[in-house]
């Protein structure tokens, strides 16, 4: 038996780990999808290595392993980019929340409730405005 058994075992392990994380809600489906695709892909190529050989011949890559590496790099790259995009969206959300918290805290300052804040009122101006105006959601 060659190293294939080892590789298949590893890929199956990765897929199981992802499914376990999904089931326990520690990872969301949109982030796990790419990894599951990658894991299943490795299992398939591991079980039928000739698939990689014929695929390489089809697209004109001389060494089948290079095709596997290239595809793996592309998938890893897209996962990284996806994470950067998600992180940026997250930062924008925490920024908006921080603003709202500051505005609400300012309203509490004005309310004069003891312990709500250390501030003093300033005439007719209220921190949150006459009504809370909805801010437009950033484009998805």
């Amino acid at each position: 038996m060659s190293g294939y058994g080892f590789v298949i075992g590893l890929a199956v392990l990765v897929v199981f780990l992802l499914v376990a994380l999904l089931r326990s809600r520690r990872i969301r489906e949109k982030y796990a999808a790419m990894w599951i695709v990658l894991g299943v892909g490795i299992v398939i190529v591991g079980v039928w290595p000739n698939l990689a050989v014929s695929l390489a011949r089809l697209v004109g890559v001389e060494t089948p392993s290079n095709l596997v590496f290239a595809v793996a790099i592309v998938i890893l790259l897209s996962v990284c980019i996806q994470l950067s995009v998600a992180l940026s969206a997250q930062e924008e959300q925490s920024r908006t929340l921080a603003e709202e918290i500051a505005l609400i805290r300012c309203t509490l300052d004005d309310s004069g409730i003891p312990g709500a804040g250390g501030g003093r009122g300033q005439g007719d101006v209220t921190c949150a405005g006459p009504e809370i105006l909805p801010d437009p959601q950033p484009d998805k």
């Binding site: 920024r95 500051a102 805290r105 300052d109 250390g118 006459p130 437009p136």
Partner: protein
Amino acid sequence: MTRMADFRDERVLIIIPAWNEEETLGDVLDEVAAELPSVDVVVVDDGSTDRTSEVARAKGVRVLQLPINLGVGGAMRAGYKFAARNRYTYTVQLDADGQHPPKEVPTILDALVSTGADVMIGARFAGAGDYQTRGPRRWSMTVLSVILSRVTRAELTDTTSGFKACGPRAISLFSTTYPAEYLGDTVEALVIAARGGLTVDQTGVSMRPRAGGRPSHSPVKAAVFLVRALLALGIALTRPGIPTEERPA
């Protein structure tokens, strides 16, 4: 004869972004109170770890206390949100480090009202005040000014100045779109204003040297500054449409 429009008839808000400025903020607030007694002030405490908020509250000024540090752009968007929700007509950004003299606030606001511009930049000019930059950093700022002048169709010489006044349309736009990126509060904000159909202009003001720290003259830092600024500018200019929001009547 009709009476000239005057900012003194309108609701004006001074927004002071402050990050760990407990040492200089008190004096700045005293000076604002002395020069502009009828104007509202809000200090945006940008996640300070010192007594910035307490200093501001002790002076009887409203504080927007951000729980995390967002940078000047982030602090200013919170300030513009406050202004938009409270229906202020004009805002002026004033730095907490004492670099922007409060007595120049009327200069900028008068220029804003008389020209009918949406954004008025208080520009440092040679001769007035002690503020100077030299060498590579100066050239970088010149390059930025030339490009941004074309973008905004105005003659701008000091595009990195934070001493700015905004009218209602700019407040509305900035309350949702003011960027938190590097140089977003100066360079990108002007691009957003121009692309949002706002008019930008500048007026000369004197400024004081910063209380702490001095401008860097290192050519490497200036080069990094220019590259980052041009990158920010390039991305800002090629961004897809900016949502323009109607200000509630």
